[in-house]
Symmetry: C2
Subunit: 352 residues, 2 copies
């Protein structure tokens, strides 16, 4: 922060980041809130619109159609192998914006903080968000901070809302899957959910399984360049691959057939799932993309994906089929077939 | 909802809006979540992008520079005289977007629901949001739903993020106040905060004082048309008029002088403040705008404001002055002067 900025709160002691905690006054609209915003948020999220200090951010006119996506994050625990709620909040919203085939540009951040939350943890989260945003080339342009009384929240909840642009001619949607289309996935499934569960349960294998949390804008840009006729992208978060395929089937009025043996699942994730009584198909991912594309484009797309670090383990896992019932079915490793239904309830709460 | 839509969950009983409650499964990414989104949210927020069912909304290319604003809402109680958390969430974000002088276009909504929250209350809130958005001509285009365990939230928190456009040539900011400028306010101050406090404390006068919660896009459009050289707009929410004037003073490096006798405060709000030990200058508003403009434009602006239902009681309350200390001072009704400082802490928590 500049000397001028530091001087704004010259009559207050600087925030005690190491030992301080969130107090109700940090959400009260007065000097304490202003200090928190300046010394913690603006110091980390360095964008002219944010530094301006207005209640909104004025930005350039975007080149293309606009895309908006929003995601609130309530993951528990806040810190987990491979990430934390901060990086997750940035990655999650970017990955929603790019399911349009577009490019993320700007992001807003809304914090709901619980009284008593350690400032050191908040700083760690904020720094993680800033690093994730910088790496993804997305600017955090405006934000909001609320504080709720102890016992009325859970440490920190973060909403991120992203705006991006999508070029004319690209028309991606979960409603565009057609019989004969290929179904691909960009890599190993289940890592995020199992990493969260393992760190919740303090399981031994928790050290070896890390969340896949990542922003996939680079991968998607490469994919769209290789196959601009791609029909559908969707990141399989809550409800996992199973929920995502069922959503696409329902939106498009088609069926989906997948082959168990072609679905990339890490051995240790498979083992952990068995131990925890989970099915990797239903476990959340935070750095994967499900792809539906014309069969003729599948090879070019796979090649482009595998050339990108986030798509190295991409695989073709199935096909879109005609089915008025909209069923998702799987050819099992043992040669049988089974229906892959939605889960009726939740398999893993507070996963993202 | 169309027959096709209703048919999507034909194998599930429809949501029991009257007696049902939020369960963890409503945030799990499975069928229960999908049903909640379809039967409650999509039924109320009727926009093609939302109905599309994708994880993001693709929109037209906006005509002008983009404006973004975000606001999380944690108000307690959820329902209060003059509004509820739903209408407040829509109004609040619109009022932030238009502080740029721009026009709101699109909004995202993120719900964080607590397990056990009554569906009937959620429906009332969602319907209120839909009505507020419709009245304001802003479209709710995409959303997100999370559920946290009982005791880890507080019924419902709502994030709304708005996008709008601002015409070339308009350049409003809290940093543009200049010595000699006039300071106006669009009407009576303190109504919202006092209505909230009164309904929290079950005070007798709670029936007569209503929140001023309102979307001011129409008022601002009229103001910008009448005086495109207006320097600064800001809605005095948390921290009230005092915080807003101090923010502007700090951003612009100027002082502010206001006259107590010119500040519109309802008699009953004044009386309630006395009873509750509050100062109306520090009480939140949710349907007011503070305006800084060149002195030469003040009369035209006041006239335009008073011609609009939301600006009927607009008043000129003071001037911007040179002051390297950035103080806000008030000429009291008794002829003295006093400094109007920020509050150090919170006067009213959970007010918005």
């Amino acid at each position: 922060m500049s000397g001028q900025r530091a001087g704004k709160h010259a009559h207050l002691r600087p925030l005690d980041i190491r030992r301080g905690r969130i107090e109700m006054s940090h959400g009260g609209g007065g000097r304490a809130m202003s200090q928190l915003i300046d010394e913690l948020f603006q110091a980390a999220f360095d964008h002219p619109a944010l530094q301006q200090g207005d209640d909104c951010a004025v930005l350039d006119r975007p080149e293309g159609r606009l895309v908006m996506a929003t995601d609130s994050h309530v993951v528990s625990p806040l810190f987990f192998p491979g990430g934390d709620i901060g990086s997750l909040a940035v990655h999650g919203t970017i990955n929603d914006v790019i399911t349009s085939g577009g490019r993320p540009l700007w992001m807003t951040v809304g914090f709901i903080l619980e009284e008593g939350f350690p400032l050191a943890d908040l700083k760690r989260i904020v720094d993680s968000m800033a690093a994730a945003a910088l790496e993804a080339g997305i600017a955090i342009v405006t934000g909001d901070t609320k504080v709720v009384e102890r016992g009325h929240g859970d440490g920190v909840f973060i909403n991120t809302t992203g705006v991006g642009v999508v070029a004319e001619g690209l028309d991606l949607s979960g409603s565009r899957a057609r019989p004969g289309d290929a179904v691909l996935v960009s890599g190993f499934i289940g890592d995020h959910g199992v990493a969260i569960m393992a760190s919740r349960e303090n399981l031994e294998f928790s050290t070896s399984i890390r969340s896949d949390s990542a922003a996939l804008h680079g991968l998607v840009a490469a994919m769209v360049a290789a196959a601009p006729d791609v029909h559908c992208l969707r990141d399989p978060t809550r409800g996992g691959l199973a929920a995502t395929l069922n959503e696409i089937a329902r939106q498009s009025g088609v069926g989906v057939t997948i082959r168990e043996s072609d679905i990339p699942v890490r051995e240790e994730v498979d083992a952990a799932c068995e131990l925890l009584g989970l099915d990797p198909l239903y476990v959340a991912n935070e750095g994967k993309m499900v792809v539906v594309c014309p069969a003729a484009s599948a090879d070019a797309l796979l090649q482009a994906m595998r050339a990108h670090p986030h798509g190295r383990d991409a695989a073709r896992i199935g096909e879109i089929v005609e089915d008025p019932n909209g069923f998702v079915e799987m050819e099992t490793a043992f040669g049988g077939r089974r229906k892959v239904d939605w889960i009726a309830g939740e398999q893993l709460p507070r996963i993202c």
